[in-house]
Structures are given as C-alpha cells and as structure tokens.
Amino acid sequence: MLIKKRELVLYSLIFILIISLSYFAPKILIILATPSVYQPQTFDETYVEVSVFDIGEKVVVRANVSDSDASATPLDTVYMNITDANGNLKVSFDEMVDTGETCGTDCWIYEQNYTLGTGTEAPAGTWTIDVYANDTGGNEDTNSATFTVNVYLAIALSTPLAGGIEFGNLDPNTINSSSLTCQNLGCNISVSSDSNVNVDVVVKVNAPLTRQGGTETIETQYWNSSLTQQPSSPAYQFQTSYDYTHKVGSNLEPGSNVIFNTWVTIPGGQKAGVYNNTIYFCACKTGTSNC
C-alpha cells in the first residue's frame, strides 16, 4: 500500500512535469550552432498572432532565427517564400528584416509582411510560408508554416434587376409572359471580381406571387438563365427553398455574370389584383450548398 502511494506521488510528479514542459517548451529556445529557423508565426497588422486572414489583409510574418556561431560565421540573409492555396508562388525569396528584437542569446526576430490581394490574387485555402536563413559560412536552415485565407464571395444584381421585376398588366389565361424588366439582357447577376472562389448561384422565392390584400396565389412562375444570351423560354418553376438541382449559374468565375429572366402564367379565373413576392439569389462556393 505504501509502495503504491509512492508510485502515485511519482506518477503525479511526472504528470506535472509533462504538463509544465508542454506549456513552457515553445518558449524555451535551444540555441544551435548553425543558423536555425524556428517555425514562422503570422500576425495581423496589430501584431495579434492569427492564422486566418481575409482578402486584402496584411499578413505579418515573423521568424526566430538563431546562430550560436554568429561571431565566426554571422547570419547573412533570411528569406521568405509564400505559396498560395493553388500552389502559385506569390512571394519569392523576399528578404526578411531583422527587427532588432532578440529571442535569446544569438537569436533574432526577423519580419516581413505580405498584403493579400483580392479575387483570384488571393485564392481561399491554405497558404504556405517558407523561411530560409544562411550564414556567411554557407550554412543554412529552413522552416515553414501555414495560414488560411478565408473564402470571400459576393454577387450583385444589375440595376434593372435590383429595382424589382415587373410583369406589367396580365390577363388570366396568359401563358408564360416574360417579365418586362428582364427583356433585352436587363437582368444580370454578376460575381464580384473580389471573390476568391468560383461560385454557384441558386434562386428561390419567399412565396408564390401573392395578391396584395388577399391570399390568392400564382404558383406558375418560372425562370431560366444563360451565360451567353437572353434566355428565350421558361425552364424551371420557382421553389420556396434554394434549388440546387437547377442552378442559375455553376462554377462562375470571379468577375463573370449570368443572364436571368422570369416568366409567369396567369391561370384562367385568377382574381384581379397586384401580385408580388421576393426573389432570392444566393451564391456559394462551387460544389457547396450553404445558402
């Protein structure tokens, strides 16, 4: 029983030691004899350490570099490469600057920053930072880290479309009457060139066309879209949830646009009045269904 108590105390001490090491280890720098690059860190422009960035944001990269033999073969240069989520080299051997701050004996903090672009210049996903250091003796070391660029996407409606779709005055028994607004390429949905992913655009209505001041509805509202020309005939009936089977646009690149139109059929005997509803367009990253 006594032995067990001793073992218990021993295990507890070992456990506490492990926990303590796990906390303090990153802060303990073991100075090596040759240039040694420690894992780079990323900060926002206020020097808060972060690893996720939005388009257009400044990425501050810092790396601790040590050289225990600095008096004989001092550090020569510290470089940085940044590779985007698509594997394209965005920064090539950009020299990092000694901040003048130290990270221990013979250890210095180097820094460089990179401002993310927008659109295809800053594709969403995981980016890689590679930091290289060499000394005057020809010794070198490298280390790398990653950061994430958030998905950014946006769509906009053409001015006529944003102003509302008008069908005008229609008679009962009118079959597939095209909207007045969307004739002659009037209705476009454009993908912002700032978007950094290709997008799918889907559509829905909040409800069928419903008579103002009443409950009568018109269910027979249809839409169609085209990348190249004015849609000439209705293809799909509006639904009240986003239709991922029939998309307004698929895999649309940033800066592209899609042409939209809508039609309505007025059944015979439809009660007179003004009918309205709201059409929703939603863009999400191609292949997802986040709307």
């Binding site: 998905v151 069908f167 008679d171 439809q270 009918y275 059409i279 986040n290």
Partner: protein, 346 residues
C-alpha cells in the same frame, strides 16, 4: 479561466466570420398585376343573365369592367353564343355542333348594346347560351358566363319593344324568310350538293369545289387521313354576317353561324350546311381544319354569290342528316314568325 473564456469568444467570432463569408444573398421583388374582367348584363334594362322567352327580341347591354378597380374596359370583345339554336346555316345534326354567335366591342365606357333573339324554341337538351369576353389586343379569353332561357316556348307579341338596330334586325328577318323558303324546298326534296373534302394531318386540304350557292344545301364529306384514317380531326365551318336570327348582322355587331364537326374512328365527318348570305355584306364562308390537339392545319374560303337565291332543281345528290336539317328549318320558321311579330309591334 478568463483566458479560456476569451479564447472561446475569439473562436466564436472567427467561426461566425468564416460562415458568413461562405455565401452571398441578394433579393429583388417581383410584381405582376392581373387584370380580370367582369361584366354586367342588362336585358331590357334589367340586370340579369336570363332571357324570358324564345323568339322574342331583347335589348341587351353589356358593360365590361376591371374586376379589381371597377374601371370600364374599352374595346373588349364580347361574344354571345347560342348552341343548338334554330339556325339555317348549320342545323344541329349528328356529330355536328351548331353555334350562332354575335360579336360586339365595348365603347370607351365599357358598354356595348345589341338585339338578341334567343332561338331556343323546343330546343334540344344541349341548347345553351353563353357570353365570353376577350381582351381584344391579346385575344385572351377573360371571362365566360352562361346565360339562361327561361321559356323555350314562344310567346306572341303582347307589348311594344324597344331594341337597338331595329330596322337592320327586321331586314335580316325578311331575308331569313326568303332563304328559308328556297332552302326548305331543297331540303324537302332531300337534295343539294355533296362536296368531298380530304384533309391530311400535315395540313393538305383538298375541297371538291370552292363555290357555294345561297339557300342550296351542301353536304361536306370530310375524310381525314395520315397513314390511315384520322379520328378526332376538327372541322370548323363558319359563315360571317349571314342571315342569322339569334344575332342579326347590325351596327356594331358581327354575326356568325358556326358548324363544328369531328371526324369519327373511320376518319369521316359528314354534315350539311345551307349558305344564308342573301343580300349580305361583308359576308364569307370559311372551312378551317384543326388537328386532334386543336392545332391549326389549314383553311379555305368559298366564293358565294349573295345576290341570288337558288331555285330548286334536281341535282341527283341527296343530303346527309336531312331529317335533322328539316326539323331545324321547321323551328326556324316558327321562331321567325314570333320574332317578326314582336319586331312589328311598335
């Protein structure tokens, strides 16, 4: 503890930010204004859809208006239809529907008036009256209502009537009697002409003759084919501004006599018509063919000498549905006599 709480909040913020940038949603309203028509009909000044007696001329006024705003609708096309009435042009007969039709257009205040004489004397069971309103620009049917004839018996004139276009209606009745007397002799002798009509579903239309004589009965023997007999092909024969009792051609109103037949399982449709356009103006007779789905196939017009009634002579060609046609002519004469009496009562 506080450190973990701050971390948790930061993670939540990052999480929300990440999700919110995964989609972009925009909206726009869509609006459609439905114009529905409504009508009010006055018969002899009383708002009603019911005619009292067969053979009596009635002053009919219709107002067409927007059912939502109640604003009058001008230039609306209004059809008054009488099915299986007493019509010389197309007697109700086997497999053939007979329709008399009067068409008027509303004025700037949404009104139109005309004289209507229901001819449903001793009418068959499928007799009915209807009014149909169209948007004249789009051709869309906007409204259809059925009207009624309370008494299918005829009532002698007992009070003076005031009807629109009285002189024109009376003149038409005079010509009706002339046409009747000539055509009745043809029908009584069960003779006339037979025209064969061949029609293919691809629209080829061959008619034996393109000439018709006023008061001379013609039996059209229509055969529809396309790789064999075609059932369900629709044959539509229309006489415009003939001498029709139901709606006589009159100022502001166009008159139509219409026969509508459908080919049977052997591809045939046989029916007899009698052109009535004696003394008529803006008169024509057209034959139009539609396929089983109602799609237009072809049409042809017939030349008719409207200045001459055709005396009976033996053609050696019997007419089909002679009994139906003869019975209708008998009704026409009865209706005519009562209607003429009412019109003469001033």
């Amino acid at each position: 503890m506080r450190k973990w709480l701050i971390l948790l909040i930061l993670l939540l913020i990052i999480g929300v930010k990440t999700v919110s940038s995964q989609k972009s949603e925009v909206t726009t309203p869509s609006n459609a204004t439905v114009i529905a028509y409504d009508i009010t009909i006055w018969i002899n000044g009383v708002e009603t859809l019911t005619f009292e007696n067969a053979s009596q001329p009635y002053n009919v006024t219709v107002k067409v208006f927007n059912a939502d705003t109640l604003q009058p609708i001008k230039n609306a096309k209004v059809e008054f239809n009488e099915r299986s009435g007493a019509s010389i042009f197309t007697a109700p007969q086997s497999s053939t529907t007979s329709t008399g039709r009067g068409v008027v257009y509303t004025d700037s205040n949404g009104f139109a008036s005309l004289t209507i004489i229901p001819t449903g004397y001793a009418a068959p069971s499928d007799y009915n009256l209807s009014v149909v309103v169209y948007n004249n620009e789009s051709g869309t049917e906007m409204l259809r209502k059925y009207m009624n004839l309370a008494n299918t018996g005829a009532v002698e004139a007992s009070f003076p009537i005031s009807v629109p276009n009285r002189v024109e209606v009376a003149n038409t009745l005079t010509r009706v009697l002339s046409v009747w007397s000539y055509s009745n002799e043809w029908v009584s002798n069960n003779e006339g002409r037979r025209y064969s009509v061949n029609v293919s579903n691809s629209g080829i239309l061959e008619v034996e003759s393109d000439y018709l004589n006023v008061s001379l009965p013609v039996t059209f023997e229509v055969y529809a084919y396309k790789e064999g007999a075609q059932e369900g092909v629709k044959v539509f024969l229309e006489e415009k501004n003939g001498n029709l009792i139901f709606v006589a051609p009159q100022s502001g109103a166009i008159s139509y006599g219409i026969g509508n037949a459908t080919t049977d399982s052997s591809g045939w449709a046989n029916f007899t018509i009698i052109p009535t356009g004696y003394g008529a103006s803006d008169y024509n007779v057209t034959l139009t063919i539609y396929d089983q789905n109602g799609n237009y196939l072809n049409e042809t017009w017939f030349a008719v000498d409207t200045s001459t009634l055709t005396d009976y002579f033996s053609t050696g060609e019997t007419i089909k549905n002679q009994v139906d046609v003869a019975n209708t002519l008998t009704k026409v004469l009865t209706v005519w006599s009562y209607a003429n009496q009412w019109l003469g009562y001033e």
